[in-house]
């Protein structure tokens, strides 16, 4: 059986599930074979019906936060939005943690096009090793495809700009066709690029070599990650650098964060929205939301692992309903846990990091996030 892996925003469509799981990275394997969530009330195993009934009781009449959502299909995200409207809840995903919205407006390039034609890939504030383990081998650096038949040996150039020597940076440093630029400040690097374009010297002298490599091909891209989204202050300088070099931008995001953000911007004009007050919430106000809410529905996320402690500490004091396919740290603190199957089994649509809509085939009839959200909306 072939499935699309929904463990990260690569959405690999070549995974084979049989007696073993073939081609999936460790993240993908864990999604399918990790320790499964169970239906529980305060840690005691119960039937699904009892868990849903208890979940309804918990959220009834409370100030509610709906959180997570980045790993859901677009269809489930739509229902989560509907649930938030119905229960006058506030809806928040991980995109509030950084200034990612600006970056989603930048011109992207399809990963398949980059695989066939792309030359320079700049991993800026991102470490695919952690977030998108197969990105280098499937699309950016190693494939011998289209115009890039000599692969990484001659037809690709890898740049890693990061504050630390990450695993990806080690590969760049070891390779003849790669370079690691250690940065302390993202703005300084953007300014260095702009200065080098004008023929002036900036703080980072290596950028001149990168610019020379960029001139060799038409398709080059920056693959930006959380480090860039959080660290860059002068976004206009970054945009100017991309425009002057005709570089495309691919944000490395959580699985379907792009789908969530697009849905929210289309429907309510903001990625964070409080339906009780009927207004968009700014990033700095999210901490107040976490303080004020009484109950939280966490869907397909593990905020105790992914959020800064100032947020997770507040969550620990709330009544939590955790809906997930895998056991998580958050579920240990939950009033109610609901077990669902992973979204790569229940099917739907997701938007890949490059903006391409990917159809996830339904391969199993198990209980899904969509089923849970529908039951709350009945």
């Amino acid at each position: 059986m072939r499935v699309v892996c929904t463990a990260c925003s690569c959405l690999c469509d070549d995974i084979v599930v049989g007696d073993k799981i073939y081609h999936a990275c460790r993240k993908g394997y864990r999604l399918l074979k990790g320790s499964k969530e169970e239906n529980t009330i305060r840690g005691e195993r119960v039937t699904l019906e009892k868990a849903i009934k208890k979940a309804r009781e918990v959220i009834d009449g409370k100030k509610l936060l709906v959180f997570g959502l980045d790993n859901l299909t677009c269809e489930a995200q739509e229902l989560a939005l509907k649930l938030s409207m119905e229960f006058n809840a506030t809806i928040v995903d991980h995109s509030f943690l950084s200034n990612v919205l600006n970056f989603l407006e930048l011109e992207s390039v399809q990963l398949e096009k980059f695989r066939d034609e792309g030359y320079v890939s700049i991993f800026w504030g991102s470490n695919p090793h952690n977030n998108v383990p197969r990105l280098l081998s499937r699309f950016t650096y190693y494939p011998r495809s289209g115009k890039r038949q000599r692969g990484y040996e001659e037809d690709r150039f890898l740049v890693v700009a990061d504050v630390r020597k990450s695993e990806t940076a080690k590969i760049a440093e070891k390779s003849k066709s790669g370079i690691f630029i250690k940065i302390e400040n993202d703005d300084e690097l953007a300014t260095s690029f702009l200065k080098a374009i004008e023929g002036k010297a900036g703080k980072h002298v290596d950028v001149a070599r990168v610019l020379k490599e960029i001139e060799k091909a038409e398709v080059n891209a920056v693959f930006g990650g959380g480090g860039l989204f959080s660290g860059l202050k002068n976004f206009e300088a970054f945009r100017e650098f991309l425009e002057k070099t005709n570089l495309k931008f691919v944000p490395i995001l959580k699985t379907n964060m792009r789908g969530y953000v697009e849905l929210m911007l289309n429907r309510v004009g903001s990625n964070i929205y409080d339906f009780r007050e009927g207004r968009a919430i700014s990033r700095s106000e999210v901490i107040d939301v976490f303080k004020e809410v009484e109950a939280v529905v966490v869907i397909s996320a593990d905020p105790f692992r992914t959020l800064p402690s100032e947020y997770s500490k507040l969550l620990a004091e709330k009544e939590l309903i955790v809906v997930n396919s895998l056991k998580s740290i958050t579920s240990k603190f939950a009033e109610v846990t609901i077990a669902t199957q992973p979204s790569n089994l229940s099917g739907g649509t997701m938007i890949r990091c490059d903006g391409v809509r990917v159809k996830i085939p339904k391969v199993s009839e198990g209980y899904s996030d969509v089923d849970f959200l529908k039951s709350l909306l009945e």
């Binding site: 073939y22 993240k27 394997y29 499937r138 494939p143 692969g151």
Partner: protein
Amino acid sequence: MPSPMEIYKLLPKTNCGRCGEKTCMSFAFKLLSGEKKLKDCELLFDEKYSINRKKLEEMLAVVEKAKETGLVVNEDLCIGCANCVVSCPVHVEKDPYNAAVGRGIEMEEPILRIEDGVVKVINISLCRRYGKERTLCVVCRENCPTDAIAFVEEI
């Protein structure tokens, strides 16, 4: 992976030569390369070296797993990124429409394949380091971001 010095420290260090090597240090290198076995050192089987022998057995367990080409895969470090599978020149030649372009390898009996989230050695006989016309290819090791792949002679 242990170093020759770490192994040497646990040997009797008498340079008795009964193993066929002139020095214990030389024996340590040969243990690592798989050319010698612990049983070749008679002294190690004396009671007073029993603790050291046990430590050496644990240390060398990973070397025992090394394939004929000297390839050692530490699955605990592997994240299944498939850089090794896609960059392998043999895979590129024999599976040009899948592994070479970054997709999951489809050829039967490849050298390496990602199974259950980590790389597995399937058919080492295809490796360029194997056989009469072998070369000192280190492509898979060079492109592993986690140092999960090593070759015994380089250790």
